[in-house]
Amino acid sequence: MLHHTPDEISERHALKINPAKTCQPIGAMYAALGIHGCLPHSHGSQGCCSYHRSHLTRHYKEPVMASTSSFTEGASVFGGGPNLRQSLKTIFQVYEPDIVAVHTTCLSETIGDDLPSIIKGAVEDKTVPEGKHVIYCNTPSYVGSHVTGYSNMAAGIVKCLCEKDETESKRINVIPGFTDPSDMRKIKGMLKEMKADFIMFPDTSGVLDTPQTAEYKMYPDGGAKISDIMRAGGSSLSLCLGRWSSEAAGVELEKKCSVPFKVLDLPIGVLATDRFVEAVSQEMGLPVPKSIRDERGKLVDMLTDYQQYLYKKKVAIFGDPDTVIPMTEFLLSAGMMPKHIITGTPGKAFDKRIDALMKEHGHDYEYNCSNSADLFYLHQLIKKEPVDLLIGNTYGKYIAAEENIPFVRFGFPILDRVGHSHFPKAGYMGGMHFISGVINTLLDKMDRDTPEDMTMELVA
């Protein structure tokens, strides 16, 4: 399937092959779905909305509702203002959301539609009914990646909804980043275990992991409540989980509502989860309960029990910066050797973090780290220096098949296996889910590789 990929790496200046990222608007759509009663709105061509909904649906196997301004050639020339106004009118009457979250596309960005003034006009002339909200953000698809889009929408949520509140309550805002509802649910669970008062937004748990009860709800039960988001301006601290997806919202909360923020990694792996737990404990003055301490111990127990199958195994990993960075740290702390670490999202800060991690864990072996890279390049790196394991989204399976490498799915999108919506990779339990997948995949290969004339190991 990928037999046209040459072994020799040639310099490419213009052609991207097999991207390791996608464009901003889908990130904004995903973040918007994390608000209860929200209909995301794509201000652009029909195709964008259709593609984004389809892609999210393939990943979650759930309904993904969003509307579009349905730009035609005329709107592209004369401006999409009328399309947006008509959209809002139709949406509130027909689909009755509590809130519409508008994001732009390369089309509306290129023609320079002025969202704030269009929306202001719609609010003033009551096209937007009383008591309903319209928020927005700018997400040009030719800048950054889908993670940037999530970040812009999260910041937009703050700009449009959070209210200044002088009475500072002992409470944390948690902005969880572009990760699965399973992770958001797990993080909330840990905060509840610690008895910490918190507001999490966006929150797609209960939105994109909903039950089958023969009842369809256009606006599922989950999602951050608008009233809670508004209150976030009165919290004592914002924890931004993932610099690329969540820092911007933290910055806005500080600017608008004087809420200080701290940027942490998504709590993936022992050490990043330790940092998260520590930050909550410190800020809220709360002890770390036995249940969490025990859970940590169980993860470490798993790592030591099965260490021989992980030690010095070479790994290639690709994905979004906010998930690849803590996952790389996790693999290092477990004794594995990440050799090729790439992301499709631009940003030298990614390379810097990875370099720092390598130093911190005392590794002086050669590794390849790259931002703005694509999977064609990763494949060629693997051809040059083979690895024992590939970790990444579903598109990695073609490389894994071509090079006959064990493959563990991770990140976004996972289109061809079940579980990621419900089984976290965050938290200590998430670490156990993930690393047991790695260990068992490597053990499957070990069994498969048993020579014909020998017997498989009974025990591992």
């Binding site: 991207k16 593609y51 709107a75 990646s145």
Partner: protein
């Protein structure tokens, strides 16, 4: 034509009026014209519907854009070409392996289906222009892959910033020696994927079809508008090969660039998906004299009818005998394969909302399974796909579609060579064998409901009020429908199964529909304790 019973309590006209009342008045007026309660007989034949008009902004529609129709549908399946999307990364990325048009490499082993190629435009390119980057991208693609040909597809920003992709294509074809075709399929053009089909057809006709003359045996055909989803084309080809009919090329499932170049040497074109490929069929007839017939390869009955059109065209006793023998054998095998599933499907009611072809073409196979299509509609088809080609002269081209070019084609002075004489051709046309498509009207009689470009709120109410047993649609609707506890069959991607075309495909289809509807897991859907009241009381002590 059939008398359909919807839910016995549902009055179609008042249902339509009710759903329309949910919209703002201007929107209501527009949407009303896209819904038709079908009548019987004469009245039914003269009913019209509005289609292929712009979707009202804010409506949650199934539709995509022009780029998807061009790159995703028509050009993408050509497997030995490198397809470069010129634009930001999203468009190329979302069309990367997401359509199940299958391809097997020819002897030269060229197969780029697993790859995604894009110029990944950045803001610098949008501001200063992306032509240089595009030229370099084509250069790199030619150097690394040496494909049979290269295509370039424009996305929304390209038309706005004025990149001349056609000039770049010309220059790079000269430089690399590899054919380069550019498609101005910006997403905002037209009102749906349909504009992209037309743009793709035009370019293929002018730049690829007709390049290589190669005499062909007597019974040589092309299959147009067949995309080999799940292997459909391979099953169809198997059957034709059995009849000793040569399928020269299939547009564009499992298609090689080189096959396109000599496709005009065939004697007869069969058109499966009318919406996406009618343009090419008409132009190939005008220029090369190749007649075309509308076919339907879905379901044993329709497959047999289609094969008989081929028999009628060639009008050769030996061929006709062969075709009838193959039909007899294949139909019997298909019937045997389908039989076990009939009991579980008898009387089940189905709705179909998909694309520009399948919402009609799957109806006959459903009827063969004893199921009844009660409500149907296309996503992006035109009036002729509903009412039949005879209405084409009455179709007004509106402002959104006016800029999609209609090519002026004339007979080729040397190569216009119809395989049958004009008298016979005229007779076949009058009999409805050639150049004819009766549209969805032919298979949806009195008491059925047609909804064009269905919107989400309409789909919700249809399910709640009509209580269908199965709804056929696409990925964006599947899980919405299934959250109601109603099974949904994806007809774009076959739920990752197939083939469903031809005779063996029909057996697969019956098996999968039975599995979908009768899987016991559906019975678990209603939560047991939901409505149970709890009484908690304690005695005061």
């Amino acid at each position: 034509m059939s008398e359909i019973m919807t839910g016995p309590e549902v009055n179609l006209e008042s249902w339509v009026d009710n759903i329309i009342s949910k919209y703002p008045p201007k929107v209501a007026k527009k949407r009303r014209r896209h819904m038709v309660v079908r009548e019987e007989g004469e009245a039914g034949c003269s009913q019209t519907i509005e289609a292929n008009t712009r979707t009202v902004p804010g409506i949650i529609s199934q539709r995509g854009c022009c780029y998807a129709g061009c790159k995703g549908v028509v050009i993408g399946p050509i497997g030995d070409m490198v397809h470069i999307t010129h634009g930001p990364v999203g468009c190329g990325y979302y069309s990367w392996l997401t359509r199940r048009n299958m391809y097997k490499a020819r002897d030269d082993k060229k197969n780029y289906m697993s790859y995604c190629f894009t110029t990944d435009m950045q803001d610098h390119d949008v501001i200063f222009g992306g032509e240089k980057k595009l030229a370099q991208a084509i250069r790199e693609a030619a150097q690394i892959f040496k494909p049979a040909a290269i295509s370039v597809h424009a996305t929304c920003p390209v038309g706005l910033i004025g990149d001349d992709i056609h000039q770049v294509a010309k220059d790079m074809e000269k430089e690399t020696g590899i054919p380069v075709m550019a498609f101005s399929c910006e997403g905002y053009k037209g009102v749906s994927q349909s504009a992209g089909h037309h743009i793709a057809n035009n370019k293929l006709f002018t730049s690829a079809v007709g390049k290589v003359d190669e005499p062909q045996p007597e019974f040589t055909i092309n299959i147009l508008g067949e995309y080999n989803i799940g292997g459909d084309a391979w099953e169809i080809e198997r059957v034709f090969e059995k009849c000793k009919i040569k399928v020269l090329s299939t547009f564009s499932g499992n298609m090689s660039y080189f096959e396109m170049e000599k496709s005009h040497n065939a004697k007869f074109n069969l058109v499966m998906c009318h919406r996406s490929i009618n343009y090419l069929a008409e132009m190939m007839e005008k220029k090369y004299g190749i007649p075309w017939a509308k076919v339907n390869f879905i379901g044993p009955e329709s497959m047999a009818k289609s094969m008989r059109k081929v028999a009628a065209f060639f009008n050769n006793d030996e061929l006709t005998k062969r075709i009838e023998a193959v039909i007899e054998e294949e139909v019997e095998n298909a019937k045997k394969g389908i039989e076990p599933y009939l009991k579980g499907l008898e009387g089940k009611r189905v709705m179909l909302f998909v694309g520009g072809s399948r919402a009609h073409h799957y109806q006959s196979v459903f009827r063969e399974l004893g199921m009844e299509p009660v409500v149907a509609g296309y996503e992006f088809a035109h009036r002729d796909d509903y009412e039949g080609r005879h209405v084409i002269p009455t179709i007004k081209v509106d402002a959104d579609s006016k800029n999609i070019e209609e090519l002026k084609v004339e007979a080729d002075p040397e190569r216009y060579m119809p395989a049958i004489d004009e008298e016979y051709r005229k007779r076949l046309e009058e009999e409805g064998v050639l150049s004819n498509y009766d549209g969805m009207w032919a298979d949806m009689g009195g008491g059925t409901l047609i909804i064009d470009d269905i919107s989400h709120v309409e789909l919700e109410r249809l399910i709640l009020d009509f209580k269908p047993d199965l709804v056929c649609s696409g990925i964006k609707d599947k899980y919405v429908i299934e959250k109601f506890g109603v099974p949904s069959k994806q007809l774009h991607n076959y739920d990752y199964s197939g083939p469903y075309a031809g005779f063996r495909g029909a057996v697969n289809f019956a098996r999968d529909i039975d599995m979908l509807i009768n899987n016991p897991a559906w019975k678990l859907a209603r939560t047991p304790w939901k409505d149970r009241p709890f009484l908690n009381a304690s005695l005061n002590s």
